[in-house]
Symmetry: C2
Subunit: 164 residues, 2 copies
DNA sequence: TGAAAATATTTGAAGCTTAAAATAAAATCG
DNA sequence: CGATTTTATTTTAAGCTTCAAATATTTTCA
C-alpha cells in the first residue's frame, strides 16, 4: 500500500477526468454527425440546430430567442439565418409593432427537409449508441442533468447567483 | 393510462435525448472555460488543449501526432502551433532524418504558463461540478466511457470496421 | 417632450473548423 | 535506378465562433 497518496491525488481529479471524457464523447459523435449531415444533406450542425428550434415553433422565433435556444451568439445567428434564407429553408420578416425585431420561421421546404434530416439524425444516434445498454443510457440521461445544473449554477453568464 | 403510446415513442428517443443533454453540458461548461481562459490567460480552449498534449511529451510531438491527440485536423494544427510559436509558448523544429516532419515542443515559458492554466482549469471544473455527488461523478466517468467506445466503433473515420 | 437608458440586431476582427487540393519528401518496387 | 505510391504538412475556401463595438429602435422618466 505505497500509493495511497497517488490514489488520493487521482481521486481529486475526478471532475477533471469526467470533463475530458465528456469532451471526447461530444467531439467523436459530433464529428460523425457533421460528416453525415454534410454528405447527405449539405448542411452543417449549427444549421441543423437552428432548423430544429424553428421546427417546434410554427410561428417563428425572434433572432434573440433563437440565439438563446441554440446557445449561439447573436452575431452568429445573423449569418446562420442569412445562409439558411439563401437556401430557401427559412424566411425573415420584420415585426411591424417593433421594428428592431426580426422573426424567422421555416419555409415549407425547410420543414420538409428538416423532417428528413431529423429522422436520419435520430437513426445515426441510435446506431452510434447501440453498444450501450439502454439502462445505462437512461441512467446517464438523469445523471448528466445534474452536471448541467451544477455547471449552470456556477457559471458567470446564465442563472447567475452573482451581482446579488 | 392513456399515453402508453407516447411513452413508448419517447422511450425510443433515449439516445437522442442523451445526445442533446451531452451537447448542452459540454456547451455550457466549455463556454465558461473559454471565457475564463480568455480573461485570465488570453488563451483559447484549442490552444490550451495543444499545450496540454505537449506538456506531457517533453520530447515534443510531430504535428500529425498532435493533430490526432487533439482531434483537430492537420490544417488546423498548423495555424494553432504557428500562433503559439508567435507567443513564445512552443517551438517548431524540423526533423533532420525526415524532412517532411516538424516537431513541436513547449518552451520553458510555455511550460510555466501551462502549469498555471492547468491548475486554474482544474479548480474551475471542481467548482462547476461541485453540486454533483462524487459518487455520481465516478459513475458517469465509467458509463460515459461506454458511450465513447460505442460511438467510436460506429464511426466512419476511426477504429473503422469498414473496408474489410 | 426629449435626453438617457434599455433592447434587438448587425458588423468587424481574430481565431477555430472542416474538407479538399497542393506541396514536398520519403518509401516501395518493377 | 526511377516511376509510383505513401506519408507529413500546408494552403485554401467556406463557414462557425467569440467578444466588442456600432446601429436602430423603443422605453423610461425628469
Amino acid at each position: 500500500m505505497q500509493n495511497g497518496a497517488v490514489d488520493a491525488r487521482e481521486d481529486e481529479k475526478r471532475e477533471l477526468r469526467l470533463w475530458l471524457r465528456l469532451l471526447t464523447t461530444t467531439k467523436v459523435i459530433s464529428q460523425e454527425i457533421r460528416r453525415r449531415l454534410r454528405r447527405e444533406f449539405g448542411a452543417t450542425l449549427p444549421q441543423f440546430d437552428v432548423l430544429s428550434q424553428l421546427f417546434r415553433e410554427p410561428d417563428g422565433l425572434r433572432l434573440g430567442e433563437l440565439s438563446k435556444r441554440t446557445m449561439v451568439t447573436n452575431g452568429n445567428v445573423t449569418g446562420l439565418v442569412e445562409r439558411l434564407e439563401t437556401e430557401g429553408l427559412v424566411v425573415r420578416q420584420a415585426l411591424p409593432s417593433d421594428r428592431r425585431v426580426t422573426i424567422t420561421r421555416l419555409t415549407d421546404e425547410g420543414r420538409a427537409i428538416f423532417q428528413r434530416m431529423a429522422d436520419a439524425h435520430e437513426t445515426w444516434l441510435k446506431d452510434m449508441m447501440s453498444d450501450v445498454d439502454p439502462i445505462i443510457v437512461s441512467g446517464l440521461l438523469a445523471h448528466v442533468d445534474k452536471v448541467i445544473h451544477s455547471a449552470q449554477r456556477h457559471t458567470s453568464d446564465d442563472g447567475t447567483p452573482d451581482e446579488a
